[in-house]
């Protein structure tokens, strides 16, 4: 029996939209619970953003070398730290000398923002961006800080932000996962599937992973998606036998809604495995588009592909997309390693913003660029060879930016002290950021709750204030 897809769509975008057709709702209407947990739902109030692209820079990008210009740090670089460091939140052995910024700064954009010269493409986009310079978090340790950012808790196992959002809003395309994670760090030092897990929310809200941080994304596949040893027709033939046996079971031992759900779920999975690869195939895009993202260039190919996939997924109606770039933990040789990291993402990042805007997607997509914390103004090599110098973790401040739906453009919120060591004004804690992201999606962070083991849980636990200053 041949498998048939809907009649050929007229254009690519039409095709992507067609994936969101009637099938999903049909399949799930029949499911045991009688209600599709991923059906698109109205939020608490009219949303600004319909979906999120989180560009996750794991490791902690250095704010004073990229976006937070500190002339005094430059002037006093190499000198003794002139203030008392008594924060319990950092490792104390590395605080004797100041390390100057490793790049020069210049004013860019109509807003005249000071930015280092490490990301020239992004510099052309500053008028689109909303900067938060007073980000703060609780811990200087990667695992704790990452988990706080991704799940709202560093101590306990909790659902991730993407899971909360699909739980709150459902999805616009039932033939694709609602929550996609591209190339996350999986294990090892600071990776963990907990960062995109559903926690105690229903399993359907779990992030679906494509590849992992160590594998170039062009060689990555979603787990168990398809069987390369069989043609699609043979795979269908195999599935037909499974389904025939399922129906036989229904006939001989009595119809059961769970088995009916199993039958429907098999069909959905099959559609997914036939159609998802299409969405992930960036070679379906024009050469000009691929060039825009730096695809084909050695330094930017990998991140460029991830960004272009993210745009294709956003366009197809995926609710929450996370793109990971790791390696931002620049403890040593920051002069060269940070440069490399920045160059690797610069062109793709600018390309993504350009492309989203050109397609009108930036109007209802929230783009977030951030790491889990910032870095210290101190020289971790303690006066050793400057070429080996690097910076340690700093939870007291970092810089991130957002773009797109509902946030101000060319706007800076928050300020740090003269060394970018601590936020002094416009502090935004991770819980506040969570509250703000949910707000942009039309969700009240105090009302987005899930009852588990006798208690109502929230992404923001008992914290969080919406950062109204950055909203349009």
């Amino acid at each position: 029996m041949a498998h048939s897809i809907d009649s050929a769509p007229r254009d690519r975008r039409g095709f992507l939209r067609s994936l969101g057709g009637g099938f999903g709702s049909l399949a799930f209407a029949a499911m045991a619970a009688g209600q599709d947990p991923l059906a698109s739902r109205q939020p608490h109030f009219p949303p600004k953003a319909k979906r999120v692209i989180l560009l996750w820079m794991q490791g902690g990008p250095s704010q004073m070398d990229l976006f937070d210009c500190k002339p005094r740090l430059k002037k006093e670089g190499g000198q003794k730290v002139p203030f008392q460091v008594n924060s319990t939140k950092i490792r104390r052995e590395d605080t004797s000398l100041l390390l100057p910024p490793v790049a020069d700064f210049q004013q860019v954009g109509q807003v005249g923002l000071w930015m280092s010269n490490l990301m020239p493409h992004l510099a052309g986009k500053v008028d689109e961006l909303c900067w938060l310079r007073g980000m703060v978090t609780d811990s200087p340790a990667h695992p704790a800080a990452i988990r706080l950012f991704q799940t709202g808790s560093s101590q306990f196992v909790r659902p991730s932000m993407g899971s909360w959002i699909t739980y709150g809003l459902g999805t616009e395309n039932r033939n694709l996962p609602a929550f996609m994670v591209i190339s996350p760090m999986l294990y090892g030092d600071d990776g963990s599937p907990l960062h995109y897990s559903n926690g105690f929310l229903p399993a359907i809200h779990q992030g679906m992973r494509l590849g992992d941080a160590r594998t170039p994304v062009k060689n990555s596949k979603i787990g168990y998606m398809g069987d390369s040893s069989l043609s699609v027709d043979l795979q269908r033939q195999h599935l037909d036998l499974i389904q025939a046996r399922n129906r036989m079971d229904q006939e001989t031992s009595g119809a059961d809604p769970n088995v009916e759900g199993l039958i429907q779920s098999y069909e959905l999975a099959f559609r997914m495995q036939v159609q998802a690869p299409e969405v992930f195939d960036v070679m379906k895009e024009s050469e000009a588009t691929r060039n825009l993202y730096g695809i084909g260039e050695d330094t930017t190919d990998n991140f460029g592909r991830k960004c272009l996939m993210a745009r294709r997924l956003a366009e197809a109606g995926v609710r929450y997309i996370q793109v990971t770039d790791n390696g931002w933990d620049h403890h040593a040789k920051i002069d060269t390693t940070l440069r490399k990291s920045a160059t690797g993402i610069d062109k793709p990042l600018a390309g993504l913003l350009t492309d989203l805007k050109a397609r009108g997607l930036l109007e209802d997509t929230l783009v977030i660029w951030t790491g889990e914390f910032g870095r210290t103004p101190f020289d971790q090599s303690q006066g050793g060879d400057r070429a080996n110098a690097g910076r340690d973790h700093n939870p007291n401040c970092w810089t991130m930016f957002m773009a797109g739906a509902g946030v101000k453009k060319g706007f800076v919120h928050g300020e740090t002290d003269e060394y970018a060591w601590k936020a002094v004004d416009g502090k935004v804690h991770v819980h506040d950021l969570h509250a703000t992201i949910l707000h942009l999606l039309g969700l009240d962070h105090e009302r987005l709750t899930y009852r588990y083991s006798g208690r109502d849980f929230r992404l923001t636990d008992v914290y969080g204030n919406v950062v109204k200053q950055i909203l349009v």
Partner: protein
């Protein structure tokens, strides 16, 4: 200024070399010291009253931890024990307390207390106590406009507070609302508000209801059946027919052992004409080792057990298997539940061997309390210590009592009779229990050594000698390598101008590296040192040297402590006997265990028998197995639950005896066939008019596939973590890498013996990540059985199913089609095959084989034998279909 060295005794141990006045950051504290700090009870060897005063002043500060001053240490002076308490404030019960605790107190503590707190009171204003607030005159209850506090935080008056940065709007609004509503400051020492739920059914004494009268006296086989039938008759439901013997044996074997009946067992049972054929089978299954494995895993589901610790990183716990094996052994031996609980909570002290030594078999029992998802990376060890005690309280609550005690960490439980005081009474017991060790080296858990004995000593000495020899070799190799590396490095520096020679030297260096490193941070030498043979140890709880009571922590924040609460048990749960007396010189775990296992306890037996019932029927008599509070579900058969609880205690808390009674009932043996008439009345089958069809747990899916394919290895017990050089990442604390593979000798064992990680399971047992395996960090009395597309992708495409299906196809290759289908169907589905099965198989094999041959001819895929491939796919489809995945 010359800093003098001081010495202090904390927790009975000398802490040497702390300079006076040093700011000690939280991360420098070992958990066991902070255990003392946490309750502000500390033992100091002090030279003079002045020094003591100074130390105490430091300790009573809210953030004493960062400014602890150690006092001089003259050994001549006697030890003194200081206990600090803060006097309780006057009672002030009020309905607005929750708002204050949730929205107001946190703001005052976080934003005001550094200048207007317990230590410093600028402008003579203190905002951290009720009296202080009211004496300050800063609030006029009911009138925000007249309250200087509100004007200050609004930045509306001359005085703008806090001066550093204005409060968030929401915070200001909260303060204003609080003042407007009367500025109520509740008193956490107020009398417990247990009026909530004292009449709740689960807290009433267990009764002994007589089995009810029924109309159809011929139907019931056991008293259990009378309880069920009475409800069915009252609802006008008719019970389904009895299940056929094939279905019944499959159900029983899966429920009791998690495996499938073998063809021989099926034949034997189906042909057994004796009246007690069922009893014979039940007794065989209860006695099989597989019973302990299946039911031990059920118990592990309601613990935090796993082979690793840490959140995020996989820090191996090489001895954690001992607790797993202890649980399995206990179930296999039908250890009385009261004894099982006492061993796990109070520890081996509850049972000593004749020689007075610790019983080695039960040494690992308190792994129940010790093994957990502790956040070893936490820089705030005080909070961590506190959070561990919190999770232990919650563990006892959910797994043993069926209560959500965690809610009472911050306030009296809103729905159940558990007060904030009760919570801290229990927390004190666990704060007085040693769970963690002083270092992170072993994942930071407390280890207890096995007692000396000659055989152990001999084995250990042999292993140590072999290891030392091996280490010497590795060290020698490493020294050679280092020397060579140095030489090459030196050459590289000199060769900078000669690219060809430089390249050659660099290649040489790379080759050298391979000799002692695997990759990245994984170094042979470091790993060899890590692998030093260990004297047998178990993760076990021990008593703290100085047991102490806990202090109420505001909103669970270990740095915001209130009054002391004496250790004790839940005041709102009555056993009809006097409350447990705590021994002041011990943690209180023994008293807690004794209280929990009182035969008259209203919850312990009910919660446990309900779990057994759930595992046999798919749904508990109380559906919320971990919540017997007012927020849980009502029992569908309250009298039956009490009947079972009574029988359970009467029969010496025997798990096997009760399971035997249940499975010999008629209601357990019903068919699962639906009935439209009954469906109209009770579609959810709450009254149990038929058997529930339910998805197998992931362990049963994996184990039975391996069983049918002939690959299941029934060896059990012992370590299973793959602590191999390739897997272990050698940065302290050592952790497991992602590419870890399960070692060949473990890989095909039953799932309960596979290494269990905390974040996600290893690639070789990826099926656990797909089919609702229990999250090791949570108490999960009732697993979910989801149906999501990722499961179907796994069933269609995973190498595991493909490989095992192929093995089954190969194993049946010699048989003619009818015999082949009969064998496959009997083995996997535990029933004789039908003509329809045979026709379907033949049709599929013929179609698929042809299409496959065509694909192979077109060169589109590696050519396997089309016939073998087709039969493999047939077996695969049987595994992937509902009849296999569900138990009827």
């Amino acid at each position: 200024m010359v800093r003098r060295q001081f010495e202090a005794y904390l927790d009975g141990r000398s802490v040497a070399g702390m300079p006076e006045g040093e700011n000690v950051s939280a991360c420098n504290f070992e958990p066991s010291w902070t255990q003392s700090l946490n309750s502000r009870k500390i033992r100091l060897d002090s030279p003079s009253p002045a020094c003591v005063t100074k130390a105490l002043a430091a300790l009573t500060r809210p953030s004493a931890l960062t400014r602890l001053i150690f006092v001089p240490f003259p050994r001549a002076l006697p030890l003194a024990l200081f206990v600090l308490t803060i006097p309780p404030s006057p009672a002030q019960p009020d309905g607005k307390a929750d708002f204050f605790e949730a929205k107001v107190r946190p703001v005052l503590l976080a934003r005001c207390s550094s200048c207007h707190g317990d230590k410093v009171q600028m402008s003579q204003k203190q905002f951290t106590t009720r009296d202080g607030m009211h004496q300050s005159g800063a609030v006029v209850p009911g009138d925000p406009a007249a309250s200087s506090l509100i004007q200050a935080v609004r930045y509306a008056a001359k005085v703008k507070m806090p001066p550093s940065a204005k409060l968030a709007d929401a915070e200001i609004e909260a303060l204003e609302k609080w003042v407007r509503d009367g500025a109520v400051w509740p008193d956490s020492t107020a009398a417990p508000s247990t009026s909530n739920a004292v009449g709740h059914w689960s807290l009433q004494p267990v009764r002994q209801p007589p089995p009810p009268a029924v109309k159809d006296g011929s139907w019931p086989r056991t008293p259990i059946d009378r309880f069920i039938l009475a409800r069915l008759e009252s609802k006008k439901l008719s019970p389904a027919a009895d299940a056929d013997r094939y279905t019944l044996l499959r159900r029983l074997t899966l429920d009791l052992t998690g495996l499938l009946p073998t063809p021989a067992e099926l034949t034997q049972y189906v042909e057994d004409a004796s009246p007690n054929a069922m009893e014979t089978v039940v007794d065989r299954l209860l006695a099989s080792p597989a019973f302990g494995e299946r039911w031990g895993r059920h118990w592990l589901d309601i613990t935090y057990w796993a082979d690793t610790t840490g959140v995020g990183r996989r820090i191996p716990l090489p001895e954690a298997w001992r607790y797993r094996d202890y649980v399995i052994r206990s179930y296999a031996a039908d250890k009385p539940y009261d004894q099982f609980l006492r061993e796990q909570i109070a520890g081996p002290a509850a049972k000593k061997s004749k020689e007075g030594e610790l019983d080695q078999d039960t040494l690992a029992a308190t792994g129940f309390l010790v093994l957990g998802p502790w956040a070893w990376f936490s820089y705030d060890k005080v909070q961590m210590r506190f959070d561990i005690a919190d999770q232990q309280v919650d563990l006892i609550g959910r797994s043993v009592l069926g209560l959500t005690l965690g809610c009472a960490r911050c306030h009296d439980h809103k729905f159940d009779p558990v007060t904030n005081h009760d919570y801290y009474a229990l927390a004190g017991i666990f704060l007085s229990t040693k769970t963690t060790s002083r270092t992170n080296a072993e994942g930071g858990l407390n280890l207890t050594r096995f007692a000396e004995n000659p055989a152990l000593a001999r084995n250990h000495a042999d292993a140590l000698a072999a290891w030392e020899k091996h280490l010497a070799q590795v060290e020698a190799d490493d020294a050679v390598f280092k020397k060579e590396q140095e030489a090459v490095n030196k050459r590289i520096k000199e060769l900078k101008s000669d690219p060809v020679a430089l390249k050659a030297a660099q290649d040489e260096l790379a080759a050298l590296k391979k000799k002692t490193e695997f990759a990245g941070d994984r170094q042979i030498l470091a790993f060899t040192k890590y692998n030093k043979p260990r004297w047998p140890e178990a993760y076990a709880a021990e008593e703290m040297e100085f047991p102490e009571d806990a202090r109420v922590a505001s909103r669970g924040d270990a740095h915001q402590l209130g009054e002391v609460v004496p250790r004790g048990v839940l005041s709102g749960v009555s056993t009809g006997q006097p409350a447990a007396e705590m021994n002041p010189n011990s943690s209180g775990r023994k008293e807690l265990a004794d209280w929990l296992t009182r035969p008259s306890h209203p919850l312990t037996a009910r919660v446990y028998v309900n779990r057994l019932w759930q595992h046999l029927f798919g749904r508990g008599i109380v559906a919320t197995t971990d919540n017997f509070g007012t927020r849980g579900e009502q029992p569908t058969h309250p009298e039956l639950l009490d009947h079972l609880a009574t029988r359970f205690v009467e029969q010496g808390w025997s798990t096997k005896k009760l399971i035997r009674e249940i499975v010999l009932s008629r209601v357990y043996q019903l068919s699962s066939r639906p009935n439209p008439r009954n469906d109209e009345i009770d579609a959810g089958n709450e009254m149990l008019w038929r058997s529930n069809r339910r998805r197998l747990e992931v362990e049963a899916i994996r184990d039975s596939i391996l069983q049918v394919s002939g690959r299941l290895d029934l060896t059990g017990g012992g370590p299973s973590l793959p602590l191999t050089a390739q897997n272990v990442h050698t940065i302290a604390p050592f952790f497991l890498e992602d590419d870890s593979r399960i070692e060949p000798h473990v890989k095909y064992r039953r799932t309960v013996y596979q290494p269990i990680m905390r974040n996600s399971q290893m690639d070789d047992v990826d099926i656990l990540n797909v089919f609702d395996f229990k999250d090791p960090d949570q108490v999960v009395g009732t697993r979910s059985a989801t149906t999501v597309p990722s499961q179907m992708l796994y069933l269609m495409n995973s190498p595991f199913l493909k490989e095992e299906a192929r093995r089954l196809a190969e194993a049946t290759k010699a048989l003619a089609d009818p015999a082949r289908v009969a064998k496959i169907i009997l083995g996997t589905l535990s029933r004789p095959s039908t003509q329809r099965d045979l026709d379907q198989a033949r049709q599929f094999v013929s179609d698929f084989q042809a299409a496959y041959a065509k694909q192979a001819a077109a060169g589109n895929s590696p050519a396997a034998d089309p016939n073998v491939e087709a039969w493999a796919r047939y077996c695969h489809a049987v595994f992937a279909s509902s009849e296999f995945l569900y138990r009827r």
